[in-house]
């Protein structure tokens, strides 16, 4: 099992870390979020499963994206604020 921490610290040759970096960079730079997501999915087919999972989770949480995000982060012991900072 690959440690995600090591993936973050050593993005070279690591598809997940590279994908996350591209993901955050594209979201930060994009002026058109819908187009940014479409582009990300085209360039990173694996994201599609994450998008589908996220949408299902949001639906399960009553359709509130923020509540779903914070709940999932809390369930997995991840600081939601850290992720928010990444997009700023």
């Amino acid at each position: 099992m690959v440690n995600p921490m090591l993936q973050f610290l050593n993005p070279k040759g690591n598809n997940l870390a590279e994908t996350i970096n591209k993901f955050t960079s594209t979201v930060k730079m994009s002026k058109n979020p819908a187009l940014a997501l479409q582009t990300l999915m085209q360039n990173n087919p694996n994201i599609q499963s994450a998008v589908d999972s996220a949408q299902k989770y949001i639906d399960q949480c009553g359709g509130d994206p923020e509540a779903a995000f914070r709940k999932f982060a809390d369930q997995n012991g991840v600081s939601a604020e850290n992720i928010i900072q990444m997009f700023k």
Binding site: I20, S53, G77
Partner: protein, 189 residues
Amino acid sequence: MNETGLMGGGGLWIFGLILLFMIFGGGGIGGYGGNNNAIQNDINRGFDNQNLQAQTRDILTAVTNGTAQSVAATNQTFHDSLMANQGLYNELARDISNVQLAQSQALANQNECCCSTKMLIQQTAADNALQMSQMEARINAKMDANKIEALQAQINKLQLQQATSGMLRFPTSWSYDAGQFPPVFAAGV
């Protein structure tokens, strides 16, 4: 997926949630899956580290930009100083050229004046020489004339003496008890 208001009305949260699903996989819902064994603190530190790296990149970019601006400003200042110095040098060169021109003109004027002075001195010397010569000639002429007059007077005197030699002389004035007139001549007188 509902993309309405993706960033403004919850889009940020959707992206965040997608990112989390990319990492954790959502408990088998999809994505990468199988990362639930990850150490959560390490993951958080990973986010922090990435934030720090981003901040470091921002700082480095700012420093780079600042350095570039500083270098550009320094170059501009150097260029401005160089141009200013060049302008001053050009102005100084023009001033020196003007001074040299004025000096050359002054020297030419001085030479001309010197030449004129020399010519005037020569002319004056020539005039003086001529006047001196003429004066000598007049003096000589006058002296000759006086000499001739003196000789002529001497000649006249001698001629008169010769003409009156042996003639009876009468006094030209009378004095008391001058004796009888005509005087009695002694023999041989």
